[in-house]
Subunit: 144 residues, 2 copies
Amino acid sequence: MHALGMHLLVELKDCNPKILSDLKKVEEILVTAAKAAKATIVQTHFHQFSPFGISGVVIIAESHLSVHTWPEYGYAAVDIFTCGDTLKPELAVSSVIERFHSKQPSIIEVKRGILSRDNVKLPHKAVKGEAIEYARTKELQMVP
Amino acid sequence: MHALGMHLLVELKDCNPKILSDLKKVEEILVTAAKAAKATIVQTHFHQFSPFGISGVVIIAESHLSVHTWPEYGYAAVDIFTCGDTLKPELAVSSVIERFHSKQPSIIEVKRGILSRDNVKLPHKAVKGEAIEYARTKELQMVP
């Protein structure tokens, strides 16, 4: 069904623990993945935790990518949340699987924002008229 | 089954569009939710997009909270990703539903990092010995 966003939950098991604990490398991998998906990067934020583990987010104009690593278990949780028709999130998935050397990757795709039961396609950046029309049918109070 | 992380995908439909388009308010709502969950906030990053829509991330020591709003549709996608036994992510969920005035909220819970088929509970911050033992059984290459 039509949705505003596509959210890929990527479970990366049996990764290379050295990569998972390298802050610069983890950031570079996520940024490369965002670029592979043709996303527009707005900001990146990465943190190293004690005793180990890295969390990071790449905010993109089309939503976000995030990563949390557990090098002690060889595991990383990656999220790739995008909207619009022009991105290629599947290329971001391939990129992170390859770059973290995951031998046991798995992917769950969740559609976010299925707003129309009638499967009407809604633009992810609505022009004013369309948004107002949608709001009217839903009896939503609109932003002035 | 035992997992390293708990990830709540929160679909907030029929929200108050005025709140969804107010950068300061959206940030304050996410920060309040993180605090309600007893999370340790590391950093917050929020952006307003043109013509409308806000994206934001609260990086917490226990993973992250994120939000993407579509005020034109009265919709927000919130993610609450936590790890460890001490947090109360369900309180963050209640908080965002209430504060965004969502009349049609729904929640999906996904466990992230189910690493043991035998349902062994793994500490989310492993002490060195436990991590090494786990890595040994999985024949993982460990961080020195």
